[in-house]
Amino acid sequence: MSEARLISLTVNGETRETLVEPRRLLSDVLREDFALTGTHVGCEHGVCGACTVLIDEKPARACLTYAIQMEGHEITTIEAVSDAGLSPLQRALHEEHGLQCGFCTPGIVMTFEAFLRDTPDPGEEEVRDVLSGNLCRCTGYQNIVSAVMKAAAEMREAAGD
């Protein structure tokens, strides 16, 4: 009924093939088949945000996506956020003390890389609203909010406005 099938999907710009049962979560395939363990897994029902990746540039829960659905789509994970060093958002999280254990951080970075592309000049309220989709058990949210605001300002400056 549900034999494994060979699928091909684009992950961080590379075409990858793997044999999957239809029920395999994208989060598991990224971690176990492709060794991309930066995508973290917390709740597996969409609440914690740790598994957030980009599907065709938009943030989505990898735990609510079956890998087989991703044929023909582009996945971006935390491993591809920056080619060299840290992205402005990652740097701001570091400077503002926006992480402690770092478990939640990949999901936060993926969410806000996408959000800031869509909304380069967000208000703090908006940032807090978006951050509601990522649970952090150790840092507290103040520093994460400051980091996002700082990164947004830096990215606007770099873009020349």
């Binding site: 609510l64 079956y66 989709g133």
Partner: protein, 292 residues
């Protein structure tokens, strides 16, 4: 938490999807955004043998306007419903309610059709559909049905949809010019389903005429509850101070929410009371052209 095995189908046309749904009947489930079905599958609360993926049916991702209606395709994501210019212009209440669903990444995936069929009693989109008398367009191999939202929702997570059918689109009557509107909800954490959600539209009557007020509540019954307040508003003066307080108290006394340990009925009634007052106050302000 991993789902039980299922077979996976990815139809390229609506006809092919209906074909699969008809062929597998009870054993099949469509998947759209997967933001409600995903958790159900992962927790094995749902164990379909066949998953029919609707995500390639991009022709069902649209927002279209006629003179009187706003038609939105079943596969339109919440983020688009919340942000499309057409929705903001002709049904700002729908846009406002959609912007409060779950979280930003949830809204990028979750769809209008999925939300209506999932039919959580406290969900935003079913509430707005019921309040505004939207029509739900459902298609199966034997043809298309148009169902009034008030008839579509049967009970908790149960809708008038037969095996083999899928939701194609929803038609929302546009809000008439001059209509005041408001939506408000209470949840313990941002992004959770509401404990109670309230929406209202309000049009001031001409000199000597009564205003037209429509109101609906989510989370206080098995399906969104549309209230007929016509009798109550008869002979009331809604320019008098304190009418929103009185109206809210009346609504709170009318409803009979479920009583359970997590959310006692009295608590739910108090929240409904507070939300109704907020919503009526904001709606009348908008009807008067003020910013609430």
């Amino acid at each position: 938490m991993k789902p039980a095995s299922f077979d996976y189908h990815r139809p390229q046309t609506i006809e092919a999807a209906l074909d699969l749904l008809a062929r597998y009947g009870e054993a099949a489930k469509p998947i759209a955004g997967g933001q409600s079905l995903g958790p159900m599958l992962n927790m094995r609360l749902a164990r379909p043998e066949h998953l029919v993926d609707l995500n390639d049916l991009v022709e069902l991702d649209y927002v279209r306007e006629t003179d009187t209606e706003l038609e939105i395709g079943a596969l339109t994501r919440h983020h688009r419903v919340a942000n499309a210019v057409e929705v903001g212009r002709s049904h700002p209440l729908l846009a406002s309610a959609a912007s409060t669903i779950g979280h930003y990444p949830i809204r990028q995936r979750g769809t209008l059709g999925g939300s209506l069929v999932h039919a959580d009693p406290a969900a935003q989109l079913p509430l707005i559909a019921v309040l505004g008398n939207a029509k739900i367009i459902v298609r199966g191999q034997s043809g298309t049905r148009e169902i009034e939202a008030g008839d579509f929702f049967k009970s908790v997570m149960t809708v008038d949809l037969r095996y083999g059918e899928m939701v194609i689109a929803v038609r929302f009557p546009k809000l008439l010019p001059g209509t005041g509107w408001a939506f408000d909800m209470f949840s313990r954490r941002r992004g959770d389903f509401a404990i109670v959600a309230v929406a209202a539209t309000l049009r001031l009557g001409d000199e000597g005429h009564q205003p037209v007020i429509e109101m609906a509540l989510g989370g206080v019954d098995a399906v969104p509850l549309r209230l007929d307040l016509g009798d109550w508003f008869e002979n009331r003066d809604i320019t008098a101070a304190g009418w929103t307080r009185e109206a809210a108290a009346h609504v709170a006394a009318t409803i009979s929410p479920e009583d359970n340990k997590m959310v006692p009925a009295d608590f739910r009634r108090e929240i409904a009371d507070m939300l109704c007052e907020n919503v009526l106050t904001a709606a009348i302000a908008r009807a008067r052209g003020e910013t609430p």
